[in-house]
Structure formats: C-alpha cells, structure tokens
Amino acid sequence: MGQTLPLFPEAASTLAGNVDALYFFLLAVSAFFAVLIAVLVIVFAVKFRRRSPDEVGAPITGSLALELLWTIIPLIITLVMFVWGAWVFLDLARPPRGSMEIFVVGKQWMWKAQHPGGQREINELHVPVGRNVRLTIGSEDVIHSYYIPAFRQKIDAVPGKLTTMWFNATKPGEYRLFCAEYCGTKHSGMIGRIVAMAPDDFEQWLAGGAGATPVAGGEKLFADLACNTCHKTDSGGRGPVLNGVAGNPVQLIDGSTVVADDNYLRESIMNPQAKIVAGYQPLMPTFQGLVNEEGLLQLIAYIKSLPAAPAAPAAGGSGQ
C-alpha cells in the first residue's frame, strides 16, 4: 500500500505465488503470439507492398498442413492452460480442514466480521500469519464480493446462501480489502484493510476485544427462538437431534442423502420444508425475518459446536 506507481501487486499469501506463476506463463505465451503476429503482419505488409496499380497477389488458396498446425498447437497450449488454471483454482477454492473460522457478513456498504472468540470488527480483519483462515461469508442485502488482491483471493457474498474463502497469510502487514461486485451507491467506499499479524501479536490483539463468542451467541439464540423445544439432545423431540449432524450425511424423507454443510443448515433454518429428515414431520416454521444473517452464522456455529451425542446417531434415521 502506498507506492506512487506500483506495477505489480504484493504477494502475501501461500497461494499468491501459484497465481502469479500461472499469470507469468500466460503472459509469456501471449507475448510470444502477439509479437509473432505483429512482426509477420508488418513484415508482410512492407515486403509485399503494392508496386504498380494493377498488381494482384499470388494465387494461394490455403494449406491444410498449416491449418492443422495452427489449430493443434493452440489447442494443446490452451489445454495446458486449462489444467494449470483448474489446479490453481481448486487450491484456492477448497479450504483445508482445521482452518480457523471467521464469519463475515456484507451489507450496504460495510464488511462485518466476527472471530471465534467473539471479537467483532467492521471493514477490517485481523488475521494471524502462518495459519489457515477460513471465511464463511453471507450477505444481508445485495451481492457483494470479498476481495483481497494481495492474497489473490475473491468470493461473492450472495444473499440467500453462504460462501467460503480461505488463505494463509505469509507476511505481517496491512493489505487492501475491496468489495469487487458492484453493490450500489457507495460500492467504492466498501473497502477496508486486512491486518496480518505475527501469531503473538495476534493473540494479544484477540485478548483486547473478546466478547460473546459466535457459539455462545448461537446458544442464546437457540434458546430465545425456542429451537430447543423440538430439537432435544435425545431422540424424544419433534425435530431431529442436532448433535453431530454438521458435516455428516443426513437421510431425507424421499430416500436421498445430503451432507449437512453450512448451506444445508442455513436452508433448514430459513426454509425448513425444503428438505425433511427421514422419520420426521414437516412441522418446523420458517425463521426467515426472525433471525438476521449474523444470527444465522452464530446458530450454525453453535450447531457445529455440539458434541456428537453418544445416545442417538443423528443420521441414518431408521425407527426414530
């Protein structure tokens, strides 16, 4: 941040180097072909310039060999680019297990974040260097996009669903945070900074601002919204037992099975009738309008924090 005429962005995450390597490969191939074409065009245009008004060109109709050559070579090169690009993408798109999870909500026009320890921040995000950090991102109104150029990472915040992004910062420092998807009047003001800190500094920062953790907030909401009247910890409730559901397969009433990921849990709260767990009645009302995007993320955090109950296997659903 702050140079007068930077020509290349700072790289400050473990994967930024992979993206840059791909970029340089593409740049080299592009430069080669652009220069090749430019040189050929200029050389031909000069060498074969018209010398008399009635002159015509040589009668050459084409060449199958050349056509095949300039079909197959670009084909091979683009396929290499595709495979390489997909490789880099999969690394960027799939958070490793065991990442530290931070919840982010976008709204016109700010980014709100909440750490596992309850620390909240707006338009800033403090993260430790050298740890995998996973952001779970929602939106309260329109589509936004969480973009950290120095990490070469970006993901849309889409209302009605949750998206994830991850990174592992390599250098302490401050980096730009942008909203990349146009979201209305103050779109260009929806910016902030990412503060990457040495682990010790980060612990110190965390200690300064602890509040109610997302799990605690979710537990309170779970009670306030009376979720616990149906979702009990034993199999006697009218709703499924939630212990150990998160991240595991759930059998549905129509016989199919889904994995209870964040988006499944979100849908089950907002639109409970969409997927009914085998062995249960479609009794649950929607909580749309009763809980906001941050509350939702806290509820999901709470459900994910529940220990797997030894008494009742949550999934499998026979004879419940």
Partner: protein, 238 residues
Amino acid sequence: MPDANQAAIHGGAHVTPAHDHAHGAHHNPNLQHHFNDMAQQQEASTLGMWVFLVTEIMFFGGMFWCYILYRYWYPEGFAAASHHLDLFWGGLNTVILIVSSLTMALAVRAAQLGNRRGQIINLILTMIFGAAFLGIKAIEYAGKFRDNIVPGRHFVWHEADPTGAQAFYSIYFALTGMHAIHMIVGLGIMSVILFMAWRGRFNASYYTPVEISGLYWHFVDIVWIFLFPLLYLLGRHG
C-alpha cells in the same frame, strides 16, 4: 406474420417495374418486386416464420429453465402449489386449444382450396375458442387473487414449503402470462387474416399468410401442451 401484412398493404394494384428476367408468362399480383417468383416468396415467408418460432422457443425456454431449477430445489412446495390449480379449468382449456388448432388447420385447408366461406367460418371459430381460453384464464387468475396466492407481500400459504410454493406461483404467472400475451397477439393476427379472407384475398396460388399464421397459432397451442402437465398435473400421479 411477415408477409401477411405486406401483401395486405401492397394490394393487387402493385405493379413491378421492368422485370429483367422472365419467370412465367403471367405475374401474380401478390408477388413482391424483390422476389423472382411466387415459390421463392412463399419459401422465404415460411422459413421466416420457422426462424421466428425458434426465437419463441428460446424465449419460453428461459422460463422453462427457471421452472426446472426451482422444481428441483422445491419439490414439496411445487407439488403442494400445483394441487391448488384447478384441473377442470386447465383441462377444459387444453381441450379448447386442441380444437382451435383443428379449426385453424381447416382454415388453412379452405384457403388452399380457395374456399372463402370455409376460411371465414373456421377463422371465426378459432377466434372464439381463443377468446374462450383467455376468459377461462381470467377466471383462474381471479381465483388466485381471491385466495391470496399471488406472489408478493400479500402471499399467504398454510401448507408445506411456503417459499417453494411462492416460487411456483412466480413461475406460474410468468409462464401463463406470457402465453396469454401470445394468445392475444394471435387473436390480433387472426383478425387481420379474417379481414383478408373476407375480401377474398386467398386462393390456391396464394395462401401463405393463412399458412404461416396457422404455424404461429399451432406453436402457441404446443406451448400450452407443455405448460398444462408441468403446472397442473405435477405430482398427481396415481
């Protein structure tokens, strides 16, 4: 439709200036100056209508795409919402449209034979069936407003999956509304064709406007043949 109107306005009085090439001993008064002969003109008009119908398929295709996606997302809501549609009115409308396609086909046949009376009767019947379809559609829409199952702020739903049901009705109104607009346009075209038939404009050598209007009418019917099972019969097996 293209040539229907053109020919109407050209009228029989149109005289083409100095044709450079011979194409038969007599000029058909319905031949426009930029075509070589009637066969070329008719082929162009028919191809034009087919191309237009391809764009119509893409137009409805966008909505069918939405339908497929949301039906996959909300099977419960879609089934429940579909049960609220009136199978009687929907079925009656299907029958009406199929019969109207028959009368339309008879009108084309009458035009090919140069039978003016047959054209007029069948076109009027087709228009009556089309209007009846729209009337029944209006009755159905009124029922939706009465029951507060029109998407928006006043949407009320006490059965399974209100979100899915609302998505269903959004698509229901979009699809049937667009179909109804096409029916209204069709009635407009039929009025023009009826007027031309009244004036005795069609005969065995010139009936393209009736034919391509018929293509359009059949297309609109076929769209309904898809809409009816997708919207009304969904989840009613057994």
